[in-house]
Each structure stands twice: as C-alpha cells, then as structure tokens.
C-alpha cells in the first residue's frame, strides 16, 4: 500500500537552532514529494517539492528538503528556526494509482513549536 509517514506528532526547537521535520514514504514508481505548511486557522501553503534532479531542494521561507531514495525519506530542514515558523507541517507524495493516475497521499502532519 502507498503511504506517507511523519513519525513525530510534535517537534520542539529553540529559536536559532536548526530544525528537522521527518517524512518517509512508500509508493510505487518514482515519487513526487511535497511539503506544505499550515498556520493556525489558515489553508495549507506550498513550501517546496522534489520531482527529479538535485536531491536537495530549496523552498520558501528558508526551508529546504533532502530527498534520499535509499531511505525513502524527504526530511524538511531549516538551518536557523524562527518563532514564526511555528505551524503544522504536512508531507505529501504523489503516488501512482490505477489507470496510471496520480493522487496526493498526505501525511498526518507534524506540529512544530519554536521556543524563544
């Protein structure tokens, strides 16, 4: 079965420290991988995606993510966390379904709290 796992419900970091939000996936075929962020009472905002090419992808607000095919992971990272980064983060993968159609498969989200 195709799936996405975000193994940590919550991540706490101190402001200025590096942060990592983890994501692993299981899909058939080549994956297309996405990170989204959701601030309180807002819709999801696209952060970055991996389609092909360089395994390190840079996105909005200083975030980046590293695609690791052997570990089937796509962890979100930022070198120096800000209090304003506190939000809910979702990983998603575009998996191949019947008829060769692709649908997004979503992780359950990780709540990031950055402490001043």
């Amino acid at each position: 079965a195709q799936s996405v796992a975000q193994p940590e419900d919550q991540v706490n970091v101190a402001e200025g420290n590096p942060l990592t939000v983890k994501c692993t996936y299981s899909v058939s075929g080549n994956p297309y991988l996405f990170w989204y962020v959701q601030y309180p009472n807002r819709g999801l905002q696209f952060l970055l995606k991996y389609i092909t090419g360089d395994n390190l992808v840079k996105g909005s607000y200083g975030f980046e993510a590293e695609f690791n095919k052997s570990q089937t992971s796509f962890h979100l990272k930022k070198p120096s966390a800000l209090v304003s980064d506190s939000a809910l983060y979702f990983c998603a993968v575009s998996g191949v379904n019947a008829g060769n159609n692709r649908k997004l498969i979503w992780g359950l989200g990780t709540s990031l709290a950055v402490n001043p």
Binding site: R42, G43, F90, G95, K103, L104, L108
Partner: protein, 114 residues
C-alpha cells in the same frame, strides 16, 4: 491564497439538513479539489474536478456530491448532514494535471453538524 475563496467560512447546521459549500477561483484553473481535514486523519480527498461538468470521486466521497457548472465555481453538497461530517473543508486548485504540480488551497470552511 492563489485567488481562492470559500464560503461560508463558518457554518453550524443540524443533522439531516442539506448544506452547500462554495469554492470560487479567479484564475481560470482547470483542476479543483475538495478535501476534509480531521485530527488524526490529515487531509482526505472528497471529490475533484478536471473541467466544467467533469468530476470524480476521492477516497471519502460517500455522503457528498459536487457540481461544477462553470470554471470558477466548485460546489460541495452534503445532501443530509451527519455529525461525522463535522470537519474543516478545504478547496484547492492546481495549475496543471500531473502528479508533479503542487496544489494551492483556500482558507477553509469550518462546518459543525449538531
């Protein structure tokens, strides 16, 4: 918010009543989606549309119907609301078909069924 609005933003309704949520976009995108977001379940696709009058079911379509009579509007209808449909509903668009294209989300509608 990629020119996407949702109405109403909040609604409280009683079990058994019909409810229609509206998603409106201003940028003429072909692909539109309805999701629900619930704690412990993340986002789940209800229905999606790939053009005017072209719609298909997602993973949790039971109890929901959709209509798209013009490009800019995608309506989600709960024919007879149940308490299990209490949720936050998000509309999304994508600029192209294909798994490599990201989706852009509206602000959401919080629906409570009492």
């Amino acid at each position: 918010d990629a020119g996407i609005t949702q109405s109403p933003r909040h609604k409280v309704t009683e079990t058994g009543t019909p409810v229609t949520l509206r998603c409106h976009q201003t940028e003429n995108h072909r692909y539109m989606y309805w999701y629900r977001q619930d704690p412990g379940h993340g986002l789940r696709l209800i229905h999606y549309s790939y053009g005017v009058k072209d719609t298909d079911k997602g993973e949790v379509s039971d109890g929901y119907s959709v209509s798209r009579s013009k490009t800019e509007d995608f309506l989600l209808t709960l024919e007879s609301a149940t308490s299990s449909q209490t949720s936050v509903y998000f509309c999304a668009i994508s600029t192209r078909q294909g798994g490599e294209y990201e989706q852009y989300f509206g602000p959401g509608t919080r629906l409570t069924v009492t």
